[in-house]
């Protein structure tokens, strides 16, 4: 107990308090100016926009993947089930490096996609791709247990009452899955907002349009602009906490659905 409290204080509370105290040292006016200048706003736009698109892509493919993994038997199922966690296990720097290379003009995928006008490397699309990769496991792993425990009887009842398979899915299965899908979305979104490693490799990192918010914090630090970095960090922290609260509420909602 004592060890726990000591570790928590030293490792989490003190660093956290330091940041908050420094941020409180800023006047409200200065904070607002630093946190909402044009370059910062452009960084938020890319961060939140790309994270949103990535989380939506995660929900679509994640739901599909979870469904296929739970409901069907096919060769390679166990292998793919294990591979789903791969983005978690792979260091983000490696993910960014290999994705940037894959989607570059002469990369394995870029070779075919760039002539079609799909430029994945050093563009906002690349940021979305990296964030989708990083957030992939969240939706799948949130949905899998729910799908496994879904009662087949309800679907049978729907079928007996004359509903087609599509109708059953839309009006019986989807509503049950919705809270978990939203939880997965929020988890992937929260992860994407803070993500740094994979994005720096694949983004152009140019001011106004290529910079994500964590990258801008790095830039500010490199220019020894500590107050600027802290102001941006506080904005990110506030958003993470709001998301954390939303995720907690969603999880409560989802668990109520299951009982």
């Amino acid at each position: 107990m004592g060890v726990t409290a000591f570790f928590l204080t030293v490792m989490v509370l003190i660093p956290f308090a330091a940041l908050v105290i420094r941020a409180c040292g800023l006047s409200w006016h200065d904070f607002w100016k630093l946190a909402t200048n044009a370059r910062a706003l452009a960084a938020y736009k890319l961060t939140f926009g790309a994270s949103g698109f990535a989380a939506i892509a995660n929900v679509i493919f994640g739901t599909l993947l979870a469904w296929v993994l739970v409901r069907y038997e096919f060769p390679g199922r166990r292998f793919i089930d294990a591979m789903v966690d791969f983005p978690f296990a792979l260091p983000t720097a490696v993910a960014g490096l290999t994705l940037a290379n894959l989607f570059a003009v002469n990369g394995w995928l870029g070779k075919f996609l760039v002539p079609l006008g799909i430029k994945g490397a050093f563009t906002p699309l690349g940021v979305v791709i990296a964030l989708t990769f990083v957030g992939m496991p969240f939706v799948v792993r949130t949905l899998q247990p729910v799908l496994e425990h879904l009662e087949r009887e309800v679907e049978e009842a729907a079928a007996t009452l004359g509903a087609g398979r599509l109708r059953t899915f839309v009006s019986v299965i989807a509503p049950t899955l919705l809270p978990s899908m939203l939880t997965g979305f929020a988890l992937a979104f929260a992860r994407a907002i803070g993500e740094y490693g994979s994005v720096v490799f694949i983004s152009s990192n140019k001011p106004f349009g290529g910079e994500i918010a964590p990258f801008l914090i790095m830039m500010r630090l490199e220019q020894y602009d500590y107050t600027g970095a802290i102001a941006l960090a506080v904005v990110l922290l506030v958003f993470s906490f709001i998301l954390l609260a939303i995720i907690n509420l969603l999880e409560q909602w989802a668990s109520r659905f299951q009982s």
Binding site: M1, T4, F7, L8, N101, M136, Y196
Partner: protein, 325 residues
């Protein structure tokens, strides 16, 4: 008419219900194909690409890139950092999980929230926290600078930011929740009856912990260590903020990958992939161990369920073996 309908339902009821809860074969195989193609392109191809690019200049260049002094230094530093962080977090994780699962006290949910906090903070912000604490413009940085350590008649400046201690601190912060998170649910599930029995039989607190509590969470603990280690070796954002990128001295493997990649030439890119291939290998080992441990845990669980006096082999399936990071 009614009789016919009744007969039909009776005769076909099984087939009907099966058909009712399954998609047509076409839909099924289309979905499977999309899922397969997606996972192969999006999950497997990046992995294969790492090794293909790493070996694109041949095996000689590959081993040359890995044995180069600065890359070698990065590999060593990564191992040192993990060797410090992982034991620290194991000690903390076991203590925290034990306190949370076996005792009741006020503020428990606050404690759990605090343990999870590093997961919800951007790694860059986490690194920034330590810069604010120990950097030259931070709270304790100037004090540390003014008070060098006097050891063996020499003055040694204690450097934390842009030095190894900062990297260790930042890595410990981001890997903080892993072990505790894996252990809390397992310890909660096992309950306190066994410990109480041990204590009643005269075992000391420590003895109970070593012989009863720890063995019961063995696999979960190893699982947590595997995940913690993977993250500790692969952490990029937080380490990037505090390291200062001094080549050969404060570069970990992920930072070395970035440094080489920024070199821009064909040779440095291949070298970046060579270092990255080691990290990818680590990820594969982590995944393999994770799958193995989940299987092991599911089997233990099944064994516990099959234990006499109620022997029901049917109920002991290998289901529900999906853990999340």
């Amino acid at each position: 008419m009614a009789g016919y309908a009744k007969k039909k339902i009776n005769g076909d009821s099984h087939r009907q219900s099966r058909r009712g809860t399954e998609e047509s074969a076409v839909v099924k195989w289309v979905l499977i194909t999309i899922a397969l193609v997606f996972s192969l392109v999006f999950l497997l191809l990046p992995l294969v690409n790492v090794f293909a690019q790493a070996l694109s200049q041949g095996w000689r260049a590959y081993f040359g890139a890995l044995s180069e002094p600065d890359s070698w230094a990065a590999i060593r530093l990564t191992l040192i950092v993990a060797a410090i962080c992982v034991p620290l977090n194991v000690v903390f994780g076991v203590c925290a999980a034990w306190a949370i699962a076996k005792f009741n006290f006020r503020g428990k949910s606050l404690l759990i929230t605090l343990i999870d906090l590093p997961f919800s903070v951007s790694p860059v912000v986490a690194g920034l926290m330590f810069v604010v604490l120990f950097g030259m413009n931070g709270f304790w940085g100037p004090w540390l600078y003014d008070h060098p350590l006097h050891l063996f008649g020499r003055e040694i400046e204690i450097k934390i930011i842009f030095a190894v201690p900062g990297i260790v601190l930042a890595t410990t912060f981001v890997t903080f929740p892993f072990v505790a998170r894996e252990l809390i649910p397992i310890m909660q599930a096992t309950g306190t009856e066994q410990e109480q029995a041990a204590l009643t039989l005269g075992a000391s607190g420590w003895k109970t912990f070593w012989h009863v509590t720890l063995p019961s969470v063995k696999w979960g603990l190893i699982y947590g260590i595997v995940l913690c280690n993977a993250r500790a070796m692969g952490e990029f954002g937080a380490v990037s903020v505090v390291s200062g990128h001094i080549i050969g001295r404060t570069e970990t493997m992920p930072l070395r990958v970035e440094g080489l990649y920024q070199g821009g030439s064909v040779a440095t890119t291949a070298a970046a992939f060579a270092v990255a291939s080691l990290l990818a290998l680590l990820a594969m080992i982590t995944l393999g161990l994770k799958t193995f441990l989940e299987w092991k845990q599911a089997r233990e669980f099944a064994k516990a369920q099959m234990a006499p006096p109620t022997r029901t082999p049917e109920s002991a399936g290998l289901s529900g073996a999906t853990g999340s990071f």
